[in-house]
């Protein structure tokens, strides 16, 4: 399944490897939290890029100490109205300082893109055929442009209305 990343539709070069399969030959494996937790020394010492899939009822603090081992963390949306992963994403970014790729997987649809991006996700998986994927990418661009002034701070770089007002006040005082 391809992903939208940096405004482009790209092939997913990561592979989720179920716990019962070996990782040996896989260049970019994504492992479950259980596998990471019970991980043998080989996994822990693994000298290559590693991805982690975090169930959405897990407190990110549970892996806080291991974060720099992961180049990718996948957060799950079992159904798109289950919004727990938004909180996980903000905690990973804002509290635990995770800098790797954060990806939304599961039922992820266009109308979540803006919220996802604001919570610190930088890629989303895209389902469907070529036509669906094209529409999703189009939707991604629309979603990013739809709301220009958010009303609250989050994990993204957009200045919220409160900061813009603050700046305006500062400018008024300065002049």
């Amino acid at each position: 399944m391809p992903v939208i990343k940096d405004g482009r539709l790209v092939e997913d070069d990561w592979t989720f490897i179920p716990d019962f399969l070996p990782l040996d030959e896989v260049a970019r494996p994504v492992v479950s939290l259980a596998r990471w937790r019970d991980g043998d020394c080989a996994l822990r010492a693994r000298n290559g890029r590693l991805g982690l899939r975090l169930p959405n009822d897990t407190d990110p603090a549970a892996i806080g100490a291991d974060l720099d081992r992961f180049a990718l963390i996948e957060l799950e949306f079992p159904v798109f109205k289950d919004g727990r992963a938004y909180s996980q994403a903000r905690l990973l970014r804002e509290r635990h300082g995770y800098r790797g790729e954060l990806r939304a997987v599961g039922e992820v649809v266009r109308d979540q893109y803006f919220f996802l991006e604001r919570c610190g996700f930088d890629s989303v998986s895209v389902a469907g055929d070529k036509a669906d994927q094209g529409r999703a990418l189009e939707g991604w661009y629309e979603a990013m442009a739809e709301i220009s002034v958010p009303m609250q701070p989050a994990a993204d770089q957009r200045p919220p209305a409160s900061s813009l007002r603050e700046r305006r006040r500062a400018a008024a005082v300065a002049s």
Partner: protein, 551 residues
Amino acid sequence: MYRYDEFDSTLVNERVVQFRGQVARRLSGELDEDHFKPLRLMNGLYLQLHAYMLRVAIPYGTLDSLQMRRLARIARVYDRGYGHFTTRQNIQYNWPKLAEVPDLLAELAEVEMHAIQTSGNCIRNVTADHFAGAAADEVEDPRIHAEIIRQWSTLHPEFSFLPRKFKIAVTGAARDRAAIKVHDIGLQLRRDAAGEVGFRVIVGGGQGRTPMIGPTIREFLPKADLLSYLEAILRVYNRLGRRDNLFKARIKILVASVGADIFAAMVEEEWRALRGGSLDLPAEEVARIAAYFAPPPFENLPAQDTGFEAMRFEDRDFARWCRTNLHVHKQPGYAILSISLKPVGGVPGDATAEQMEAVADLAERYGQDEIRVSHEQNLVLPHVRLRDVHAVWQGLVAAGLGAANIGLVSDMISCPGLDYCNLANARSIPVAQRIATRFADLDRQHDIGELKLKISGCINACGHHHVGHIGILGVDKKGREFYQITLGGSAGEDASLGDIVGPAFSYDDVVDAVESLVETYLDLREEGELFLDAYRRVGLAPFKEALYAGH
């Protein structure tokens, strides 16, 4: 009143364009109903049995005449000439066409209104005391903080897919007119020992099938910390609230299951990590918003007005109306004036386009251009000079809005019930109408005094029956409509849930039962004692006796 700056209007206008796109994708079939549903719900659009229903937010219940006229115009152009004011300071339109809803929203945006987050599992329209800015017992205007919350919660990226809907109410007075103890979060402005103003924070109250009076999790929260604290509560809820069972998904279930103390500790822990960050409110920002809610230019008037007194003396109907529909204003020579939307035989909360326009005219001419919507489904003109009260009353009577029954037995809250709602066990509106007709004699109602009667057609409790002095709940008994009666509920600062009085009554018998309860109260009340106080003094026994003794 708050006025949008360019940031607020940009967002609301962009939101209209966004929803226009979503509607177009729905109409073209690109979006199926399953995926359109949460999007339309975040714009207040419900799909009911026969048609769409649009719920428009009236943030903290405040409107000016321009906005009220626009609501009237929308009723006329997009609906069938009326609207329904709800218990959550919203207005609902029952017959909009999907393809026209984007135009309707654009008309609202022109007058700084919207339908954002009036439904769906997000932070809903924030409600406040409908006497805000006018009540004599107020520490500070709660709308300042309700507006701050409105902005922060609008399209919140983390909290738009919560386990369930989330309702916040704010009051600035110890006398609770906003039902803060039966909300997901209730905030009460108060002073601490040092005279500093902050909030008491109540979490996990609610009605529905599991009614709860919310516990206080923090006695005093400094004003600057409001948003970081709310974010902490919402984050704990978003992560830990149940999502496996719709009926157990509200925050009240989480708070009750872990216990208020443990819940409070979880919030405090999250808050310690959040406070001091970008959510801290600079005093300048609070001041900027507070300035919008500065009191209107009041005249220096004597506390009494001779013309007003004379009219009260001469005109018995006017005098009677004054007894229930006027309330003490903080400014001498002014009054707070309630407009009842509960005429005998009417549908509680409904108003026609013409009535909305009449209220807009009166507010503009006599009421500092301000109108409020109360959670008891009435309207309020918060700032009227005593000398103008008679003229306003005449205008109201002419518009069919002269009911002199605020707080009395016919000022009922009733849900739509079986006539409109597919979840109902029983009819509600006809029961309300029959009770109002039985007590149509106004002198009798005035003699009975304050009595809050609330009716729901099923356990979802849209009609607030749990917190009625008399609550009536529609139940289904082998396919027949029955009504269970509770006594002693209250939504005020002394909040309590009603006690079930005994076996339910049939549709035919329920009005007699209510009358018998009222007669029992009249017999046993002490001088000046209200129904609720009398019930609290004597308990269920005499009422039970009156209802079931002969059976």
